[in-house]
Amino acid sequence: MAVKRKIIKERVPTPERPVEERIKSFVEVNLGYTFELAVKEAERCLQCPYNYAPCIKGCPVHINIPGFIGKLVEYRNDPDKAVKEALNVIWACNSLPATTGRVCPQEDQCEMNCVMGKVGDKINIGKLERFVADYAREHGIDEELLFEMVPRIEKKGQKVAIIGAGPAGLTAAGELAKLGYDVTIYEALHEAGGVLMYGIPEFRLPKSIVESEIDKLKKLGVKILTDHIVGKTVTMEELLKEYDAVFIGSGAGTPRLINAPGINLNGIYTANEFLTRVNLMKAYLFPEYDTPVKVGKRVIVIGAGNTGMDAARSARRFGAEVTIAYRRGEEDVSARVEEVEHAKEEGIKFVYFVNPVEFIGDEKGNVKAVKFEKMKALDERDSRGKRKIVGTGEYVTIEADTVIIAIGKHPNRLIINTPGLEVDRRGKIVVNENLMTSIPGVFAGGDAIRGEATVILAMGDGRKAAKAIHEYLTEKRESQNA
């Protein structure tokens, strides 16, 4: 498309629910584009050539971004066709666009590089991706497209076990099923989805979206065994006897705690526990739902990543006054920009350069305050480019009746104790360039090999591993037939 385009500097905004309404409920904050608005935004895209388009280079899985955006404009008179074509382009690289469109840090990836940024607003790639996926789901277009692929599936007669139903495991399962393998997912919890289900709140990623992804997998013939904990219910050795290959997508589920006195006081939650109670167990609907959660009047969330924002914004929805305490400065906040903006709009306070040193309790063993050491930043930078911080010897105490620890997570311990499985010092599973682990036929990806990373990287690993498993099993088949 070499036509010269008119430059439209401003982004087409996506409507959002007003603050007053959203801090009282868990319904989704951003309402997304309609077809008309999506086309308007799509028209702003300059359609950079595939080999040059900087957005594609910024995308961890290299979605043909101008390709899918172009379809919306090209078939603007036939919304269903436009969306189907666009989805087809996205699906070539990304199996979970409704999710990634919502949770990817686009500002650090595709959108960061967008050339439109030089003259105006960057293209809202994330919201366009989300639009395509949502419209497709709501109109049954995704299933239509999927089942145009199904009759072509040729059964391979080999079995693959997947450990963990997070984005890595779900993606690997989907890809392998499409290639004709007999796939079974082993999931420890009672619902599939991993962090998408138990961690990321409803107001950011509605659970019905995750459920629809899982439904599609089931329609592809993937079996999901919930309540099965690999390492307890079944061992790796047993899996290897029953299956021709195994993929580990067990994530980084072990919460990191702060080594400070008082950490086990009542009212101190890990973000995982707090979010699991709220999201997976729906404690915000207590007593209609049986699982309780206690959110006091004053809540301190320690940590300023996505998990910290999710915990803080969830606590806010229980009517609490919420403060995020972070040991570094604002420049180092690692959460998605949109989440930080939403948190601020919702009245969450941020306190920077404070590091918790003690949790203070009352006579009943409930937390009542957190003592922090004030920190300061040096000019020197660490390996990740963040300014180093040191203690000042000065302290500040902030009162709180609920504290949520959101300082990160380690890989799941039950998996890393698998005999023969090589892990690094931090418990991350070691893999080669094909994502194969130290155990032949066992592959791994997602947070289990990266520590805490992102949905898109987990999804990308799932696809890459599926490809590697396909090659591995093809060879196995051929050598058996020979």
């Binding site: 919890l189 904990i229 307890k232």
Partner: protein, 292 residues
């Protein structure tokens, strides 16, 4: 979905379930537990398989009806229905070795968890005495224990009119402490093991400590996932934070921070009470839902 093959009331407030759960039956060892979810809007609660059949694929569970979930299970589930989820087996099996002479104590429903462990200990050549301290109407598994270990002692007491949970707990502790003292005074023991409410466990521990006898306790902090993912079950043992679901549930009683555990298990008491009250209200409005 895990079919309820059979269900009956064993004693006052104690309900027995036989559940089809082949994945657990195949693997479970004495000392391990499962996490059960019984209703779409329900919680995940830990329960202990007391018997199982690896071939037939069933496990048996016993619940003490003490709050909303156990009450709902008792009221609303019948044979032929199903539990939505039975995850496991979870936790570490009890250590199976020759200790010598073992006193295994179960306070109230704690005895059902003692049963599979005590039985297995006896089978590998230990001399096991089980002690069940409980209100008389709640005495369970008496014959099973009598047939499984060297000696089974029931220290029962009658419930007095007007007693609430507090009075029962006080009486329980009083009885347990007195009986354990008597047994420790008159015989030699190599190991004491206890399952029951944290307050009772602590009181008994204080006695055992005076005699310096090794003691193990299965701890019951509040759990959510049971797989090491949430940290709800954290306890301090030997000055370190441990997750009872993957590091336990058995720990050296000498190293446990009992007061902290007692605080932690009581954290949701007010909300649990509220849940129960709301449930009872509902119940009164629809009496037909009452009897099974």
């Amino acid at each position: 979905m895990y079919r309820i093959l059979d269900k009956k009331e064993l004693a006052m407030k104690e309900v027995w379930y036989k559940i089809h759960a082949p994945h657990v039956a195949k693997k479970v060892q004495p000392g391990q537990f499962v996490i059960v979810r019984a209703f779409p809007n329900g919680e995940r609660i830990p329960l202990t398989p007391i018997r199982w059949d690896r071939e037939e694929g069933w496990i048996e569970l016993v619940t003490f009806v003490r709050g909303k979930t156990t009450m709902r299970m008792a009221n609303e589930l019948k044979p032929g229905d199903a539990l939505l989820n039975v995850a496991g087996p979870l936790g570490n099996p009890a250590e199976m070795k020759k200790f010598g002479k073992i006193l295994a104590i179960g306070l109230i429903t704690g005895i059902v968890e003692v049963f599979p462990i005590a039985k297995a200990w006896q089978e590998i050549g230990n001399d096991v005495t089980t002690l069940h301290v409980s209100p008389n109407p709640m005495v369970v598994l008496r014959e099973d224990l009598e047939n499984s270990v060297s000696r089974h002692i029931v220290e029962g007491f009658d419930l007095q009119p007007g007693w609430g949970m507090n009075e029962i707990a006080q009486e329980l502790v009083k009885r347990a402490v007195a009986k354990v003292k008597e047994l420790l005074e008159s015989e030699h023991w190599d190991l004491v093991f206890i399952v029951g409410p944290a307050g009772g466990q602590k009181a008994v521990f204080e006695v055992v400590k005076e005699y310096g006898i090794p003691m193990e306790a299965d701890l019951h902090p509040i759990m959510v996932d049971g797989t090491g993912m949430c940290g709800s079950c954290r306890v301090t043992v030997g000055g370190e934070v441990k997750f009872a679901c993957i590091d336990g549930p058995g720990f050296d009683a000498y190293k446990v921070d009992w007061d902290e555990l007692i605080h932690r298990v009581g954290f949701y008491t007010d909300m649990e009470k509220k849940a129960m009250e709301e449930y009872m209200k509902l119940f009164k409005q629809t009496p037909q839902g009452g009897e099974q």
